[in-house]
Symmetry: C2
Subunit: 354 residues, 2 copies
């Protein structure tokens, strides 16, 4: 089943399946589970791992490991499904799942906010989280250059704020009363302006405003399409360190011969930054140079080469930057135990000696 | 570190560590992680599994498996910590952890509600979840007889509602504005009364009301102390089936020679029911008879013999009622792989041939 179909089926029953990301129109739910997909609402609802109650997995030896119970809590010995969620199909194949749905929210409000200084981005996150207590569902950060690119032609979206700020935050609250929650968000923004945490803000007043705001953030393709070649990242960094880490990396990347553009953005409440880097050619040398700049600092600051996209093929060589030799050794024993001939999604994530 | 100390340290820093249960004054945080402890706020914040960002585990061969990163999202290959969380110390020993804290809520409101008919208990849960959108943090159910026992001497707590109703629900909301959230809860209760979902309700107006209400629910000892011998349960059942399952089991239990009392209560929003069963003697025969009545129906309705307390020694014989032979076989291979001589918490959870 395609994720978007699950979302629609939930909606038709006045429920919400909160998992939501750009590729929702093509991503299979089994794939989302295998990769522990994240996306735009992780801050409130968690990764896919948190949304799976039961799982059926087929193992390499033909065993059907089936646990499709519709219960929320189950501490009856080892929680085996956790092993397969996020293992990218290398330990078993997900064939069925019981998903956790939520009550459909009755209100949805969003605002675009202009902020200077990364410490204010963090401050505003804490401020918003506290004020919206439980209803904050999205906190997306877009760096100035990325925001400009996302809101000038060929993008079809206009900019809802001037280009005067270092950072643009798109927030979403899902609540129970459209009018009240709208006022609450308005008051919150006035409070943050009053305390000089933020510089400017614009609220979505209509559904078409909501579409407009979220289209800006979701249409990453408009950036990619303007780069001759492009390279993407999905790193995870402790939130307070993001500002400096990205500023440093951007500066270094721009000095590299062949790099034309650097566009950071991300799910900042989860510490997850995506990068689109435009480049003149597709050479391995340039690719590795860019990888080294972005992945280089991660070990020292306790980050990860993949927050949500997984390791697959491309990040395999960089796994040791965020996993210890002991961790990788245990991963290899797991792989060996579940797939001794390495036939499941071969060559991905982790390699074992046959 | 004791859980209560973690809660206090978080509070001193204007933060919240949401894990909360009766034994918070004696439970070690490492134990809570090893058992994937649940408790009173799972509905909103999840089990312990959701509150652990990083973990250090010592394996049987002396390997220190250390992943103490302070990041929320990390899909860099297999999420090994998931294997150890909830494995009750049988696969490795948890020695350090990075915990996920939340912003401290600015408001806390609670109400006791009287309800007739289990379908109304479910209806009121959905109603409350929708109305309180994201701020509902607790939804505890107490059956009539249990409520009476919890609010008559030797209990020091008075009953906040008359004994006329089948079910008593204690709800908690954690929000951002004490006055506004109080009014919101008041309106919600009026709405539910108007729609005849609930029969009666009383709001906590002061901090001492809050203490009063929660003491009733948390003081399970007052029940236990009045039984000559007692037997406890921690089952998980799909929410819509709880009413009938508990009614049937209670009826059967009361017909058993030697059973004196049956007191069900639980974290109903998570499908988790606890039972305290009073009995005249401590015989194995009586114990097994009681176990058979409570655990018997679980397989057919897709329940679990342990929602949050784990398997340990006492539930080992009943594991096959909620796990398939294939699941148990895979659990044994895991145990064999991580602890081939069965030296870690020996005899608990799962047994392997040496």
């Amino acid at each position: 089943v395609i994720l978007e179909r699950v979302q629609l089926l939930a909606k038709e029953n006045d429920l919400l399946f909160p998992l939501n990301f750009g590729a929702k129109g093509s991503a299979q739910i089994g794939g989302a589970i295998s990769t522990n997909a994240g996306g735009l609402r992780v801050f409130r609802f968690g990764m896919t791992r948190s949304l799976v109650l039961g799982l059926e997995v087929v193992l390499m030896d033909g065993t059907i490991l089936s646990s499709l119970k519709k219960i929320i809590k189950d501490n009856s010995a080892y929680d085996l499904k956790q092993i397969f969620i996020g293992s990218e199909g290398t330990l078993g194949v997900v064939t069925k799942a019981v998903l956790k749905l939520s009550e459909a929210p009755r209100s949805r409000n969003s605002a675009f906010v202009g902020i200077n200084g990364f410490q204010n981005v963090v401050q505003f996150l804490k401020f918003t989280d506290k004020e919206l207590a439980g209803t904050l569902s999205g906190y997306e950060l877009i760096w100035n250059e990325t925001f400009q690119k996302m809101t000038t032609p060929p993008s079809l979206s206009k900019a809802p704020l001037s280009y005067d700020y270092e950072y643009y935050v798109l927030i979403e609250s899902l609540g129970s009363d459209q009018a009240k929650d709208h006022v609450a968000l308005e008051n919150l923004l006035e409070g943050a302006l009053g305390e000089s945490i933020i510089e400017d803000a614009v609220l979505a007043h209509t559904d078409s405003d909501l579409d407009w705001f979220w289209k800006i953030r979701e249409d990453v393709h408009v950036i990619v399409s303007q780069c001759a070649f492009d390279q993407h990242f999905d790193i995870s960094v402790p939130i307070p360190l993001i500002g400096k880490m990205i500023a440093d990396a951007t500066k270094k990347l721009k000095e590299v011969d062949g790099v034309t553009d650097v566009y950071p953005f991300g799910h900042i409440a989860d510490g997850n930054i995506h990068f689109v880097i435009g480049k003149e050619n597709d050479s391995v040398e340039l690719k590795n140079k860019i990888n080294d700049i972005v992945y280089g600092p991660l070990m020292a600051i306790g980050g990860s080469v993949s927050a949500e996209h997984g390791i697959g093929l491309h990040k395999k060589d960089y796994l040791s930057l965020c996993r210890t030799p002991e961790e990788i050794a245990v991963m290899k024993s797991l792989k060996k135990a579940f797939d001794p001939k390495s036939l499941l999604n071969p060559g991905k994530v982790i390699e074992i000696n046959l």
